[in-house]
Each structure stands twice: as C-alpha cells, then as structure tokens.
C-alpha cells in the first residue's frame, strides 16, 4: 500500500489545524469523507480537499508533500504509525504524541512536541519557542519520548519538561530547560541566557560551558562520570549526535538553588 499522501496545492491562506489527520483519527473516517474534514481555523474554514490532493491509502504512513508555517498541530496525540512532512510546520507539531514517528523535514513553529509522552519527533530544521513546553495552564511539558531538533530552537526549550530526551543541535535561546521538573535536555551549539532557571530536577547537557547563568547555580566539580559515558554512547547509538557530547569528566553546575538545587547543567570541559 502506498502512503496516504496529502499534497499541498498552494500556500494555505489561513492557519490549519491538522490534528484530524492522524492514523487513529482517520481510521474512523470513511475514505470519501476525508476531503470534507475542516482544517482551517479562521471563519474561512478550509477543508482537506480545498487544500490538498489526496492519494494513497496506507493510514499508518502519512505524508504531507509540501508544508507551511501555518500547519499547526501536525500529529497531535499520535499513538502509532509515522507522519512525515516534506516542508515546514507551524505550532504544536507532535503535541501529546504517545508513540510512533513524526519527521518534519523543514522548520517547526512554537510548542513543537508540546507535552509529548512517547515516540520520536525529529525536526530537520529549526524549532520555535517552548520546545516540548506546556500550553496555558498545563503544569508539565514533555513527558517522555525522544525529540530531536537538528537546527536551532527558540527560547524556553524544554520548558517544564518532566521526562524523556530532547536534543537541539544548533543552539537555542534563553531559558533553555527553564522550570524543568526532570528529564534530559541536550543542547549543542550554545544556549542563551539563564538556562535551567527554576529547574527542580533534570539534566541539561551541553557541549560547552554556559555563558549567562543565574547566580543560583553553583559550580560542582568535574569527577569522572560513568553517566556521561553511558549518555554519550546512547546519543551516538540512537543517531541523535554524531560525536560524543560530554566526554569522560564533564563539568557540573548544580541548581537551581532558588528551588531545591537538585537539577544539573553538565557540560564538556
């Protein structure tokens, strides 16, 4: 069976909510009805057939040929199968996904991987602010799974993260790992100001020493670390990084001492 493919006709004139186009949501939709699903989020309310040419029928493999920064909520709540976007996406890609694989070949907007619980989200380009972060009112962000941004991420990467591994390969903005509850945020290429601000637990792993740290983080020595060795091997083996990240004896800042001081920023010395 050929992948269920949505080929974008032209740049969408409004923001789209693509959350209905996941394997499990489409499983209960009659194939002839797919074209009638409303995606547009303004009054215009464009439908699938207004926007896409649909081909293929393998629900477990969904492909968007062509993307846009107006593609919001791609792969929301995915529990199985794969979704690939050949292009950019907007906000909340992979939000609350539980399993499966989402690949974004272009850039992603804010809140990519918001509250994801499992599976793998891979963004080949850049991601916006609040990578993995919760929406208004929610108390925990990324809660499991693996998220990889091969480009840059904006501010608040890993906001309120609770579990899982998020990796940003070309650096990110301020407050990386802010309000972290637990989990692991990997950043190569540098972080902006005040990483780990208000983090309760969790690990921020860096390929270099952070620049602007909150004074509530304190230096904590650099003994040999088996953890660093195991993590380095995992990151390479899982195809997240090409080279080991931390090395044999990474440096450590402990914090945020404004909270409990049980989080850490580890970095290659």
């Amino acid at each position: 069976m050929k992948a269920l493919t949505f080929t974008l006709r032209e740049t969408p004139p409004e923001r789209l909510d693509l959350s209905p186009l996941t394997p499990e949501k489409l499983a209960s939709v009659d194939k002839r009805e797919i074209g009638k699903i409303r995606l547009g989020m303004s009054k215009r309310g464009l439908t699938v057939s207004d926007l896409f040419k649909v081909s293929g029928s393998d629900l477990k493999t969904i492909v968007f040929e062509g993307g846009s920064e107006r593609f919001d909520r791609v792969g929301t709540g995915l529990v199985d199968g794969t979704i690939r976007v050949v292009g950019d996406v907007g906000a909340q890609a992979g939000r609350q996904m539980r399993a499966g694989l989402i690949t974004i070949e272009g850039n992603a907007g804010p809140h990519a991987g918001s509250c994801m619980r499992g599976g793998r989200l891979e963004i080949m380009g850049n991601a916006g602010d609040h990578l993995g972060g919760p929406l208004a009112g929610e108390l925990a962000g990324m809660n499991g799974g693996v998220m990889i941004v091969r480009g840059r991420a904006g501010a608040f990467a890993g906001d309120r993260m609770r579990r899982g591994v998020a990796a940003v390969l070309k650096g990110c903005g301020e407050y990386a790992g802010g309000r972290m509850i637990a989990g692991t945020l990997v950043v190569t290429g540098g972080v902006g100001r005040l990483p780990g601000y208000l983090m309760r637990r969790g690990s921020i792993l860096l390929d270099r020493a952070p620049q602007e740290l909150s004074p509530s983080f304190v230096e904590c020595g650099a003994p040999d670390s088996s953890f660093a060795a195991v993590m380095d091997r995992y990151l390479v083996a899982d195809g997240i990084l090409k080279r080991p990240l931390l090395g044999k004896a990474p440096g450590k800042f402990g914090g945020d001492n404004a909270v409990f001081g049980t989080g850490e920023i580890l970095f290659r010395r």
């Binding site: 579990r163 692991t184 690990s203 670390s225 049980t262």
Partner: protein
C-alpha cells in the same frame, strides 16, 4: 558400575543431579580491569553455597571495555539463590557493601527476565535526597553521589527462574597433585562458558557433602563415600588407586549452560589424561529423587 574410558580416563555411568534456582546477572565496571574485578570479587565473596551464604555467586566472564555499557573494563557477575526474596536481599546487600563502596564502580543490568530485581532502586536512598533518576534509551538509571563522583547503577535487573544450580563433576585421582591439576584444567575450560559459574574457591570444592548427618541440625555432612581416609571403614565409592577427589560445582543461567559447562570440564579433564590428572570422573546425585535436572556424563563426553 559400567565405565567408559576416554583417553585413559574412566567415566562413571552416572549423572549430576541439579536443582532449579533463581538467578540474575549484572555487569560491574570500574576505572580499570583491576578495580572492576575487585568489585566483582568482593561482591561474590562468601557466596559458595546457598546452605551457608544465602546465595551462590561468581564472575561469569570478564568483559573488555568495548563490551560494557560505559566503555570501561567490566565483569559479568551471576548470582543464584533459592527464592526471589533471598536473591533480592543478597543482591542488595552485596551491591551496597561491595560495589557501591568500590572506587569508580558502576553497575548495569545484564539479564532480561520475567521479573525485575532492584539494583539502584534499592540503593538510591544512600543519596539522601541528592540521588538522580535518569531514563533514556529504554533504560532507567540511578546516580548516587559518592566521594569520588557518582555511583551509576541501573535501577533494576532481570530475574530468571530458568536457572539451574548444582551441576557437578567429581574428579578422582591417584594423588592430590593430580586431582588439583585436573580441577584447574576443568575450571579453566568452564570459565570460558558463558552463563555458567563455579561458586566455590577457585571453582573447586574439596568438602563434597551428603544430605544430613548424625548430629542434630546438620543439613549436610562430609561425603564419606568419596573421602579416601575412610575408604576402609565406610561403604566407599573409591577404588584402591584413588587418593584424592575434588568436585567442580556449576550453576548455570539455563540448563543448557550447565550441560555446556560440564561438557567443557569433561573435555579438559579427559584431554589432560590420567597421568597428569584425574584417572576417573564421576558426578554427585541423590538417586534422582531430589533434583529435576539430570546430566548424564556419558551424554556430555567430548
């Protein structure tokens, strides 16, 4: 009793009788081979027999740096006990007293089993609130701060109920020196078998036992039928040319591992031949009534 002859070594037509056990395996690594081994040896010390030690344990194989999870030299250690609870207790105590304490050590699970035994999950409280839980790549670790950095320990390891304890070989020789040479040859061969350990000192036991004894409370007492100094006064298993007998006891992750180990031992001892080593090989059993696993020597010959 009929005997087969292999390279001049008489093989009794008998069998080793063994029992089902609970077992687990972990990998202990250290900053170098010496300290990886030291932690493993300490952990498996005083673990010769469940009768007096609560468990039976030993290094299974040594692992080069390239084969361990953290890229440092390590040892695969196996530990056997008669119940899950006892196994957990022994694992926890030994890990806490011998591995946590050993410089630069780390500890990883190395068995996928039907149930989990706590490793780091039991020791984490040593961290007094500063311990760190990490989950990635499908595995869960605890990191406990210690004086030389952190003790990294996987949260749990697997338990197998398919393990077998009590595989054995009895090596009978004309002299003590020949018996010992045969035993060493057997141990060297069996050490190479994955999934099988020999819990006694150096892999060898000289105080083979029988069930019960004349004194109240003794669950086991000396195996008088194989004791050369009693040859004249008890119903002995020993012929006139035998002056020393040594036993190799084998615990295996599976029944196949026990058989493979015994086969390797038999091969090494028969290859050594009666002039340098054992002139006869037997095995211990209880008439087949107690243990579910029977390893007939004749089936395991090289």
């Amino acid at each position: 009793m009929q005997r087969l002859m292999v390279n001049g070594v008489a093989i009794d037509d008998t069998f080793a009788e063994a029992f089902g056990m609970r077992a687990t395996a972990i990998i202990i690594t250290g900053p170098n081979r010496k300290w990886a081994r030291q932690a493993a040896i300490s952990m498996t010390g005083f673990a010769t027999s469940v009768i007096g030690c609560g468990c039976e344990a030993a290094i299974d194989v040594e692992l080069p740096a390239s084969q361990t999870p953290d890229g440092r030299p390590g040892c695969r250690v196996m530990i056997f006990a008669v119940s899950t609870d006892e196994l957990q207790k022994q694992l926890q105590n030994r890990l806490g007293q011998c591995v946590l304490t050993s410089p630069g050590s780390a500890c990883f699970a190395d068995l996928k089993g039907t149930a989990d035994l706590k490793l780091g999950s039991a020791l984490r409280y040593f961290g007094d609130g500063w311990q760190v839980s990490k989950k990635f790549g499908g595995r869960h670790y605890w990191r406990v701060p210690v004086m030389d950095g952190e003790f990294l320990c996987e949260a749990t390891t697997g338990l197998t109920k398919e393990a077998v304890g009590g595989g054995n070989l009895l090596l009978l020789a004309e002299s003590n020196a020949q018996a010992l040479a045969a035993a060493e040859a057997a141990v060297a061969a069996i050490e190479k078998v994955p999934g099988a350990i020999m819990p006694f000192p150096g892999g060898v036991v000289r105080s083979g036992s029988k069930v019960g004894g004349k004194y109240k409370g003794m669950t086991a007492s000396t195996n008088d039928a194989f004791a050369p100094t009693l040859r004249g006064v008890v119903k002995s298993e020993l012929g006139p040319d035998i002056n020393a007998a040594l036993e190799i006891v084998i615990d295996g992750q599976t029944s196949d591992a026990v058989a493979a180990a015994m086969k390797a031992g038999l091969g090494a001892v028969t290859k050594l031949g009666p002039a340098k080593g054992a002139s006869r090989i037997s095995a211990g059993n209880y008439g087949g009534k107690l243990g579910k696993f029977h390893y007939h020597l004749k089936d395991l010959l090289p």
